[in-house]
Every structure is written in C-alpha cells, then in structure tokens.
C-alpha cells in the first residue's frame, strides 16, 4: 500500500482491538483502590517530571463522572483520548462486522500525508508540547 511502514490489514486490526481493550482495562483498573494514584509512567519515575499525557487517565475517569472542567484541568488530552477511544470502538466494530477496511485505509492515508508534510505533524504536536510545558511549569 502506501509507504514502507504499513502493516497488513489483519495485523492492524488485531493490534487496534488489543490496544483498545488494554486502554479500557487500564481505565477501569485505575479506578480501583489498588492502582488508584499509583504512578506507572517510567518518565515520571525516573525524572519525577510529568510527561505530556500525565493525568490523562484521571481526566477520562473524571469525564465518566461528568466533571468536564476538572477533566480539562487534569489533562486536556483526555478529551482527545476519549474521542479516539469512543470513535475507534465504533469504527472497529463496523469495519470488522462488514469486512471493510475504512479505519485501516484512513489511518494510513493520514499517516502518509503526515509523513510527507512534517509541518502538519508539527502543528498537531505543538498543542501536546504546549500542554507539557504548562504541566512542567505548574509543578
């Protein structure tokens, strides 16, 4: 297909489903007392500084209990992650049920476009970096 780094469709969907399941499992586990508040991020452990997605799990959990503003303050990326998780669930279900490859094609088309135009990638990543700087300054 496009470029050298595409996976075969079967592999892609298996990974996508596994990632989604892992994400949901993590979300549910993080609410349990055993894990709650426990820092798993290696970056945080080594440098004791927050990484760009620090607090995003907290953010999504807060969203599930309806606290939209606290969710934003915990980490704005939580919104991105929530949208991706919900969207991916639907899209993966549709794709696997109908045997089409909508997500697969769209994913690699976007990836190809981003690869050709590093400027686009920079535009997408600059909010992430901005959030990171904001987090670093508020510790």
């Amino acid at each position: 297909m496009i470029g050298g780094s595409t996976y075969k469709a079967g592999t892609f969907y298996v990974y996508a489903v596994l990632l989604l399941v892992a994400g949901v499992a993590w979300l549910m586990l993080s609410a349990t007392p055993a894990i709650s508040g426990h820092i798993l991020c290696p970056f945080r452990k080594i440098t004791s500084l927050p990484c760009p997605s620090c607090g995003s799990t907290t953010s999504v959990s807060l969203m599930m209990s309806g606290q939209w503003q606290s969710a934003f303050y915990a980490n704005p990326l939580g919104y991105v992650i929530a949208i991706v998780m919900i969207g991916a669930t639907f899209w993966l279900t549709v794709d696997i049920a109908t045997g089409r490859r909508g997500l697969y094609n769209t994913y690699y088309t976007i990836e190809d476009r981003l690869r050709r135009r590093p400027l686009l990638l920079f535009i997408i990543l600059s909010p992430v970096i901005a959030i990171w700087i904001w987090k670093l300054m508020s510790t």
Binding site: L40, C41, C54
Partner: protein
C-alpha cells in the same frame, strides 16, 4: 541489474535489512532494470542501531517511531506515555526488526515504481 553491483550494495548495507529477507531482496534487485539503481540509492534507510538508542533514551515520547515513519504509533506512544511504560519496553525488543522491515518495504516499493 548487474548481480555484482547488487551484491556490493547488499554487503555495504547488510545491517539495514533482516537476514531472512536478503535472498528475496537480492532477487528482486537483480530482476529490476539498471535504471532502478538510482531509485534504490535514494531510498532513505533507517539505521536500526540508532533507532534502538533512541528507543531506549526517549522511547516514551514516541520519537523512535516518529523517526521510522510510524507517525500514528508515535502519536499513540506519546499520548499514552510510552503505553504506560509497557509499550516502551516492548519496543526496545521490536524496534530494530521494525526498522529493518521498513527498510525492506521501502526498497521493494522503490523497485516497483
């Protein structure tokens, strides 16, 4: 293409490709015509060792994946803090083969245009 030139290329670039693909790659290069030589030389190959070093040092930011061209996975790694640390460690083992696989795919793609 001239088999000797192909062999020279493969010897000079052996570390960029997975060993089990070399046979197929060699055959594909020999079957292609001479004009493809320039196309192959201009394929940007990712150094597996450099990628591994990146992965170990800054893997949790997804930089290793970005450098390989796996933009989507790179963003995913970045947003999930190295996949909660787990993906980061898994990638230490996967990333060299992934770099070689990408090199292989890129050269084959250059040969088929």
């Amino acid at each position: 293409m001239d088999a000797q030139k192909v062999d020279m290329y493969l010897m000079a670039h052996s570390k960029y490709f997975e060993s089990h693909n070399i046979g197929m790659l060699r055959q594909a290069m020999i079957d292609a015509d001479e004009s493809k030589m320039i196309a192959i030389q201009s394929v940007s190959l990712k150094d597996p060792t450099t990628t591994l070093i990146l992965s170990i040092l800054v893997g949790y930011l997804g930089i290793d994946r970005f450098m390989l061209g796996d933009i989507g996975l790179g963003i995913g790694k970045l947003l999930t803090c190295g996949g909660l640390g787990i993906w980061q460690i898994v990638d230490w083992f996967l990333i060299m083969d992934r770099a070689k696989e990408i090199n292989n795919n890129n050269v084959i793609a250059a040969l088929s245009y």
